[in-house]
Subunit: 322 residues, 2 copies
Amino acid sequence: MEFDLIELIRRHTGQARDDVRVGIGDDAAVLAPPPGKDLVMAIDTLVEGVHFPRGTAPADIGWKALAVNLSDLAAMGASPAWALLALTLPSADAAFVEGFAEGFAKLAQPHRLALVGGDTTRGPLTISVAVHGFVPPGQALTRAGARLGDAVLVTGTLGDAAAGLHALQHPPREDDGRTVLRGFLVERLSRPTPRLAVGTALRGQATACVDVSDGLLADLGHICVASGVAAEIETALLPRSSALLELYDDTTALHFALSGGDDYELCFTVPAARLAEVQAGLARLGCGATKIGRIVEGEGVRVRAADGSSLATDRPGWEHFA
Amino acid sequence: MEFDLIELIRRHTGQARDDVRVGIGDDAAVLAPPPGKDLVMAIDTLVEGVHFPRGTAPADIGWKALAVNLSDLAAMGASPAWALLALTLPSADAAFVEGFAEGFAKLAQPHRLALVGGDTTRGPLTISVAVHGFVPPGQALTRAGARLGDAVLVTGTLGDAAAGLHALQHPPREDDGRTVLRGFLVERLSRPTPRLAVGTALRGQATACVDVSDGLLADLGHICVASGVAAEIETALLPRSSALLELYDDTTALHFALSGGDDYELCFTVPAARLAEVQAGLARLGCGATKIGRIVEGEGVRVRAADGSSLATDRPGWEHFA
């Protein structure tokens, strides 16, 4: 049955790329990397009940399994090329695989990403995807490189995915006319948009970059550690969606924005002198980026409330096994 | 805790390679592929209770998770370079990770394989490894290409791993003086040797190649399907270890050799005229390869018993979800 499942996935995700010499169906895939580029690769796993609730639509799982990985490529400024899929399933469930492949393919296709190999096994529902992409040599964005005085920015809005999970877990008892707002937040959770165009546009512009998967405080914290600096952000500047602000009080919305994971926005730093130019460039790509603070001396991430006071941030974001 | 686990693994498996520009610790790894080579990549998953028994030593799991993947590279004739690891664990068990990393590193080091990225998550014990290697352009060995009259060969011996699993599941009631023999078979199960040197030596020699992971009948069957041919093998020619033959009767040993998976030997085809030369070359590498049959017209794998009769082969090997 293994081969039928993989074939089903192949049919959905079949994506012609000249650089695939041997695709799915042999012991391994054979690819022709473009000359003179750096290869960027990442792997991420989704486990049922940990990274997505039981009962999540298979197509949403397929989309998200790829999205969280493409988001890692985006954070490095890489353009995607190929993926490997390791799918562990309790049983050979063709309907599940069909849905999964459809969601996976829907995200893969506009990015010209080819699924080139895979392995299906029996076991608790777990999906690992390894993605591969390219950057011009030496141009990958890393977490190290943020410098004193740099502006700290994020794309899109923060906290939506955490609010979406909360909304799923706390459905209203009766129709309150806010179903559309909740739907927006749930969509942000289940179909995150990897910011690939932003990532490539930031090559040579951003001094450091990370994707917001574990929560802003945790992920910006990674930039601080890797760069040997601190960051100071202001709550009043955090971009939050109108859905989030309408459905949740300010304290809760702020908590989601600071500590909620799964947004898959990019958080990055740019020299203050380049701020306007970078923001204008990203706006032309259709993805706004908001300045939320700056890089300062010290360690860690400090949060300043609207009244100027410091916010205690004892919940630095979701860590696996935390 | 995620970062501590990955750091623990990094420390054990730290392997200097000039081509790793950014290793573990960022959103993705950045590598400099060698110019003018084809990139070969595969992913394989091990699930506790499916691919290894509960209670398997962590170091054995670490070794095997990498070995089954390196075996895929070997079957393509590729030289290994980099790996990504997705480790899903029920809890942040440092002792498990320490043992796992030790076994993984022990196999990685002699092959100069660098672990360049990873993801640890909470969930049922599941390990996916993605491996990457290189071949000169166009020289990857595939399953397609076997031609009428080619000799069919396998490296090493067959059936040991299946017998090792049987021995583990049926321990003797008292010491029967054959502990060493059983130990050999169990070692073959838990610490398989990927035939990387054989794989690279077969570039330009073998017409088709596959690794024996699902059992000889199933895997040679893949070559037949991909090449549009049939294979005829002779039971009398199947290489079987003395441990296998001493501990099991001939029928059982034959069943293990034909249908047992997990041996990770290579099965390949070479033009008959080159047989002696190829065998001599592999013998010089310290890994014998035995001729077990030949490629004929038709479909599927036929098995001829010592008396010349055809063997019914209704159990074609272990398929996931079968």
